[in-house]
Every structure is written in C-alpha cells, then in structure tokens.
Symmetry: C2
Subunit: 558 residues, 2 copies
C-alpha cells in the first residue's frame, strides 16, 4: 500500500488503564478505526448506587464513519460487557470467535439489539480487511476458551494486541497457544506491541490449568461426602476439569446458579465442553443420591451476596443444603474488594460443619490465574520483538512494572509508552511520540440511566449515606410574620427517632427561634430564611452529635 | 483457696470473634470478673456513616460490682480503643505495661476521663490479685513493644490468655518473649488456653522483625535520593529499625503525620525508642538537605485518605513533595478492605516518578506480620499444654483452623471450644461445657452517638446511598378536594435535575393525577394519600429508570 508523509497511525486506550476491567483499545490509521474489545467494569466503592461503568466513547461516535468494527479478543465481561451500550451508539460489525460470539449474542438478545448487530465469526486462521487494516489472529491461553490475540497490519507497521493471555504448556483440551504464529509475526516485524499487564507484579510463571485438575480429582476422591465446587462460570476449562474429575471418581454433577447453567449450556452446544450422557443431574436429585456420588458445581466464588454458594452458606438456597462433612472448594482468588465477602462465605460454611478449601494460603492448587506472570510477559516480548511497547490492561503500577520488564529484555526506555485512558501514541514515518489527548473517561450506568448520574448526584449519595437527611417543613404567614404550622422535622438515616425525641424537640425549637427572629427583623426572603435555618440547625446538630446530616428546609408561605 | 461444688469458672468473649478487632475476653470466677482488653473495630462496609464499633458490655454493667479490673495486653487500637467508651459505663481499674498505659492515657485525656480512671502500671514480673484471681504476666513478641500474655489463676484452674503474639528469636532491642516463664506456667498445669488465631491460616513461621531492618538498610544505602517510609505508627520496633538504618546510611529523619509524631514522642519519652541527638529534622528542613541524606518517616501505609503518604502521593501535602527518583517504601500489608486504597496510593506515587517498594509480591521483606503462623501457634500450645483450648482473635475460619492445629498437637476435639461472642464456656469440678449464651454484639458509634444508630437508620442510609431521595410537597384543600399548591419535587442523589426535567415533570403529573383521583373518590385519609403517592410515583420511576429512590411525601392540608 502507498503511504505518504502525512499518513499517521494512532494507538490509544478508551478503557483498560485503572481499576480492573472496562478494556477498550483503539487503533486508527488515517480514516480507519479498529476497536479492540468493549468491556465494562464494576463500580468503585465511592460510586454509590452505580451498577456498572463503561468507557466514554464520544471520540468513536464523533468519528462513526471511520469505525470499521470492534474486534473482541475473548468473552469475559471486562472485554464484552460494554457492547450492549456501545453498539446502541455505534452500530458497527463485531468480530469474535465462536464461544466469544455465543456469549455476546446472549447479551445482545437481552438488550434487544441482537437483530440489529452485524456479528462476524472468526477463527484463529481468519484474515479480515478493516479498511486499510489487514487483521489476523493468534490463539492464546486464558481462563476462557477461544481467546485470541490480534495482529493489525497497517502501512505504518504492524500492531500486535495480545488480549488477556498466559502460556499454558499443558492446556486443557489441547488448546495450545500458537507459539509458532506469534514467532512468525515477530519475525515479519512488529512496530508496537500492546500486552496484558494484569500479572506484571508477579514473578515467575503462572501454573498450568491442568495442575488444578489433578488437585480436584484428588480432593474428590478423598471426600467421603458431597463436594461443592464454586468457580467462575466462564472458566470453561475449569468446568471441563471438574467434569473429568467427577467421571474419574464416579460422581454425578448438579449445576446450580443462573450464569453457571447458562455457560454450561452454551459451551456444550458449541462443543467447548464435553459432558458424557447422564452425567448431569438436577439439583432436586442431589438429596436422593449417596453423598459420595455427587458434585455440585456452582457460582459464588467471589462471595457475591445473591449467588448460589452464598445462599447455600446462609442456608437460604431453595434446593441445596450444606451438610456437616461436605467439602466445599472455592476455586478462585478474590478479586480485589471482594476479600471480605469471600471470607464471610467461608466463615458461614465452616459454621455449617463443611470442610472448606479456599484462599491462596491453603488452596493447595485449586485455582490458577489466567494471566501470565513476569517470565511469560518477557517470553511474549521476546517472541514478538516489537520496536515500541505499550503495556495494557492493568492499574498504573502494573503497567509500570511491565515497562520495567520490557526494559530488562532490551527495549529502549524511550520506546515504551505507559499511557492513561485518552493518551494517544502517534506513529508517523517510523517515529513514535505522544500525541494529543482525546476525551476518555467513565460513563456510569445506574438502572436504565446511562451517564445521568454525575459528581453532584454521587456527592449527595455520599452525604446521605454518612449521616442521613432531615427535612424541615414549616408554613409561615408573611403578612403576620408568624409561624402558622410546624416546624415538623422528618429524619431518615440520621437517628432512631423514638430514642431521640429530646434532640428533635430541641431541633424544632432552634428552627422556630431562628425563623421568628428573622421575621421580627423583617428578613423574609425565601433564600435567606432557608440558609439561616440550615446553618442554625446544622450547627446545633453538629454540636450535639458530631454529625452533619443533609438538611432540606421546606418553607411554605401563605 | 477452698472450693465447693457450686463454684464455677466462666470464660467468654464480648468481642474478638468476627471481623478484625474489638477484642474483649472475660474470665469470671464466681463473683470475680476480670476483663482482658477493650478494643474497637472499624466499621464493616454496610455500616454506613459509622465511625467505630465497640463491644456491647451490658453483661459487665449488670455485674458492675463484680468487675475487678480490665487487664490490657498491649497498646493497639483493637485492644485499647474501646476504653474511653467502656470506662464511662464501667469505672474500674485498668492494668497495663508502661507503653500500653502511655498510649491509653493519651486516649483517656482526649475523652476527658483521665483523672477519673485508676491506672495501674504492671510489668512482666507483676503479680496482682483481682478478687480471688491471682494474675501474672509473661512477655511476648508482637508488632508493638511491651506486649504481654496473662495467666489468671483461679481455684478452678489456671487460664492463660496469650494476647497477640509471635515468637521472634532475634527481636529488636532484645525484647525476647519469655519462653521459660511460659514453659513454667505450662508445667504447673493450665486448665484452658486462649490463644491468638490471626495467622492460623498461614503455614510455617512468621519471619523476625530483624529481617526487615537488614532490608531497610540495604534499600536506604542503594537509594540515590530521598527515602520515604510509611508504616504503622504503633510499630515502635519498626521505627527503631528505620532510625538505625538511617544512622547506618548517614541520613536524617523527618517525622510526618499526627499519629507518627505522637507515638515517636511517647515512645522516646518512655525509653522505647532510642534516637540519637540531632537525628530528627523538621519536615520544613527536608528540601534544604541533600536528597541522599534524608529519610521521611510517615503514616499512610494503609492508603488512608487523609494520611501523610496519601497527601504526598496526591501532591497535596503542605510540607513534603515526592520527587522523581525518590524511593517510597510501604512497610505494611493492607488490612483486608484497604487493598484498593493502598493500590491507588502506589499508582499515584508511580505517576510522580517514584520507585515504590510495596506489597507481598515485590515487597522484598520490608514488612513482617506481628502474629505467629501455624508452627508458632503449635509451639505455644505445646509450651502451655492446656487441658482445654479456646482459639481467640480472628474470624470464624481462623478459629477453626487454629482448632485443627490444636487437634494435631493432641488436644481432644471435645476439649476445644470454638466460640462466638456471647457463648460461654463453663468449668466446674474439672469439667468444661458450653454454658448459657449471654448478651453480646456490636455497639455502633457515630459521632457522639453511642448505640443510637441501629438497623433502621442503617437501612435508610443504605437506601439513600443507592438511589437517593425524592421529597414531594403538596398542599391540599380538603374541603374543595383540590390541590392548592405543588406538587413540588425536590430530589437529592437521584438524578441530575437539570438534565432530567422531562422525567420530573412527568413525575409531578403522576402525583397530581393520583391525588386528584383519590380526592374525587373521597379518599382523603392522610395515610392513604401518602401511601398512594409513594406507590404510584415509585412504580413510575422504577419503570422509567429501574431505580428505587426513597420517596417522602409531605402533604399539607388546609
């Protein structure tokens, strides 16, 4: 392809830097934009009442005519969860492998846009042309099958995006990463590598998923009663190993939890899960079988309040009880922020008399990460041998650690770009530099509202959550300068009213006195009355309680 | 001492089981009650707006005439933080070692009850008589100096409470645990051991605090610029090692952060910290000195929003800036729940160009735990050789793991009591059994309020935090059956009003229509009007937004 001096390649993140998730990287060559992934993230703890967070895609909407498609590397929520929202603003084709598209289709159906969305099935051998950008793929290992990395060939040079990956030399179902193809891509020359930084802080190698299978079979065999295993629903390889261990130990499997049932169905239909006839039993049948012939596969490995395992632990599950002597395996590591939820679930399970196998300390190998550790990240860097490097997917400290690894394998420090969402890296005539900043950020989703909850609303929720609210209602006669009715004080989330009558009576008096004085002084502008009531009452309550509830004066005048 | 068949020893927890902290165990022999520790805990994430949590001590208040004193094992918040509240209800003598009392006195002074509280200084060799209970002590190792375990000798048998402990064979300042005395106590015969379970999930031995010193000196020496070290203010041994490493590497120390300054002062005055003349410089002097001659010792190892390190990381500290190339050491492990705060601080420090040494992965030994791991817990069990065992201090799963360790060293399963707060273990005529449950629980402190925030208030705060509140104000004429003014809708924390005018206009109409219809139907009981407005508006808003704000109808009638 011809190329002139004005031609330019841009690489930037709309999501993927910062708290886990919400991955979205963008490659633009002149008038062709390819988006890699469209994930969501779960709200940070100060985003009160928010359900999920997606990337701000205003840049893409403004350049809609240039967007050639969204390429999805794998079917995890933090890579596909934003699609239902993004596609409503940006109806462009979505490219994904079979399982990935299967999972996406479920989401689009729920959102009512399945019919409107062009979905294009790819496999690791596909070659697609996205405008001037020829796009190929390579198989990777990750904690979900059918994950790929992407090679985007532009006239300015080749861009490689790894997606999430590890190198598993003994993968489940022989799903090897394609080392040869990655090496070949590297040999042909790579301008810039974007590589997964999730485990950049972790030395060594991430163990193989197969290790988990050995361990599970051993535990299944030694357990005299039922075995309950909680893991991520999307970890189809893990589920396959749980099935294999069940076969080997002559146990049947009950599948419990909506998303687990859902993924088991999709993955078996699409051929990613091999379940012999008669292996699966209904949860209702569990109690009819000998305890040592049963495995219960369920959701809840993160201690999520409404999940199957949490309900079992609290003895509120409709179909399954945990009995003393049962073995419960939590085959997952808590995502940061979930440690206490998981801890509480483990506590409850112990109280019920279960043997619980959990956590990094005593987990004895029932979980391995889906992300490569430092040695694997260096292997990827050495296979791809890029000129420039952009660490992706991770908090800033992980990106920095990944940058350090890249320096260690010999990439020049000035050829490494640690970027924030919205930072662009510009490649022109073989040279890279930081480009202009583009709009990027969080769009908060609360119920049906997309972006309608902003800082003011969040600040109010924060205030309300700390000390509650007092509504003060009073009716004044402007002419007479007297209080006709009230003040009535209604409080929510401040104090337990029945036990604080004295305090609220005093508060009432403060309001009356304040208003009466103002009216006597002929101050009767509405705003001034309100401000004075707020101040006087706020001061009094702070003195009495050291709390600062929100105060909402409602002053009616007749 | 004579003893008859009715005599009885009770052991129970008022705090110490469940989320970290709030430790308080009670030993009662007939009419003599001894309390061990009076800690606080920090609120769980669903205790919105709560500052701290202390144990419910109603049992002690009801038996005030029997309480002989509160024995404090060491000066950590989770062992002394409840004292200002407890002593207001229970004015009994407090026993503690020198540093422990020093820290307690600061608290009591702040609470204005220092003069009213009888404080009795003990050391590891003290023997005190608390009614019929002869009490002796033994030195332990922990992450604060001057920590002790307690031996309570009752006619029914001896009770040993370890406090928090580890076994450090190379302790800082030669503060060895008194292995000989513990062994001697064991040899004389122990009825029941209460032992710290914090690290019962962790295999092996906890490394010595001295290891940290070696590491710190190495880092100090290799750093070409300033070194910032954040650690727990109360970890006086750690601070001593930071001082020693500074001396060895010819650096001066600036102390930053209120609690760090406070502890450094108290600990030096009392002789627990040896600081050569001229070592300490003012924070203001830092910028005048060569960068490789300075150490900044500060608070903020947990990423606490208002702490010194967090301010430095955000470039909002008044006196100290982090410069590119500075080394920052976070010499602590995040307490569960604080991981994200610490992560964000590390991110910010990296953004400023600092080298950051943090976290278990890459910490390279800049922190060790103050609690013994499994081998140390077994060593304690074997030294004390108790007949009965009660694991203390920890979440339920940790207590269970500790119980398993006790079984492993040969204690009969039926002689091990894993108890919840309020469960009693009764010892009578040499036999132990579970006794009656007594009142125990959490008392929530919010500002000056002690226990005035209960479930209803917390539920309201939760609701308010999720979707905010709508106050609907309307004035009706009962006689005419018409709406005189309003409805006016005031919202807080629901939607950003300026961008949702259409929604709120609609909501207004719903309220009007609902009220008008009711009045036309001659339904005009106040309660019924309110309920109907709430229901209709709630339904409408949920349909439109999938949110459920709190709705507060204020209906005035004239």
């Amino acid at each position: 392809m011809k190329k002139n001096n004005q031609d330019k390649l841009l690489v930037f993140a709309l999501g993927g830097v910062g708290e886990i998730g919400k991955n979205m990287y963008v490659i633009q060559y002149n008038n062709d934009i390819v988006v890699v992934d469209a994930g969501l993230k779960f709200p940070e703890e100060d985003m009160l009442g928010i359900d999920i967070v997606i990337p701000d895609i205003n840049y893409l909407v403004d350049n809609l005519d240039k967007v050639r498609g969204i390429v999805i590397t794998h079917g995890h929520e933090d890579h596909i969860g934003g699609l239902p929202y993004v596609l409503k603003q940006l109806n462009v084709p979505v490219y994904g492998t079979k399982l990935t598209l299967g999972l996406i289709e479920g989401k689009l159906k729920e959102a009512g846009i399945l019919g409107d969305t062009k979905r294009i099935l790819i496999n690791a051998d596909s070659e697609i042309q996205l405008g001037t950008i020829r796009t190929t793929f390579f198989r990777t290992n990750h904690s979900i099958p059918d994950s790929v990395g992407v090679c985007l060939e532009t006239p300015e040079g080749n861009v490689v995006h790894t997606g999430d990956f590890k190198f598993d030399h003994t993968p489940v179902n022989d799903q090897f990463a394609d080392l040869q193809r990655i090496a070949e891509i590297g040999k042909r020359g790579v301008l810039v590598l974007l590589s997964d930084s999730t485990n950049a802080e972790r030395p060594g190698y991430t163990p193989s998923e197969s290790n988990v299978g050995v361990q599970l079979e051993d535990i299944f065999r030694k357990s005299a009663q039922r075995v309950v295993v909680a893991t991520f629903a999307s970890n189809v390889h893990r589920i396959q190993q749980i099935i294999n261990a069940s076969i080997a130990t002559n146990r049947k499997i009950a599948v419990v939890g909506r998303s687990m049932v859902n993924v088991v169905n999709i993955a078996s239909e699409l051929g990613y899960l091999h379940i012999p006839e008669g292996m699966i039993i209904e949860p209702e049948e569990v109690n009819k079988m000998a305890a040592d012939r049963v495995v219960i596969l369920c959701t809840g490995s993160q201690g999520e309040p409404m999940s199957a395992l949490t309900r079992m632990a609290r003895s509120t599950h409709r179909k399954v009880d945990i009995l003393p002597g049962d073995t419960v395996i939590i085959a997952a590591t808590p995502i940061p922020g979930n440690e206490r939820y998981v801890g509480r679930t483990v506590d409850e399970l112990f109280r019920l008399g279960a043997h619980v196998i959990y956590g990094p300390g005593s987990a004895s190998g029932v979980h391995v990460s889906g992300h490569g550790s430092q040695e694997e990240l260096k292997l990827m860097l050495n296979l791809v041998k890029p000129k420039y490097f952009i660490p992706v997917h991770g908090e800033y400290r992980m990106l920095r650690q990944h940058a350090t690894l890249a320096e260690e394998i010999g990439i020049e420090q000035e050829n490494i770009f640690v970027i924030d969402n919205g930072d662009t890296v510009e490649f022109q005539n073989g040279v890279a530099r930081k480009g202009n900043k583009i709009q990027a950020g969080n769009v908060l989703i609360d119920g049906l509202g997309v972006g309608d909850v902003g800082n003011i609303v969040l600040r109010d929720r924060k205030l309300l959550s700390q000390d509650g609210i007092l509504v003060v209602v009073v009716t004044l006669s402007k002419q007479d300068g007297t209080i006709l009715s009230g003040p009535d004080i209604i409080s929510r989330g401040f104090v337990y009213v029945r036990e604080s009558e004295g305090l609220l009576d005093e508060a009432n008096k403060i309001v009356s006195t304040t208003l009466q004085k103002l009216m006597n002084d002929k101050v009767n502008e509405w705003a001034s009355l309100k401000t004075n009531v707020k101040d006087a009452l706020g001061r009094f309550l702070y003195e009495q309680t050291r709390r600062r509830p929100m105060i909402l004066p409602i002053i009616m005048e007749v």
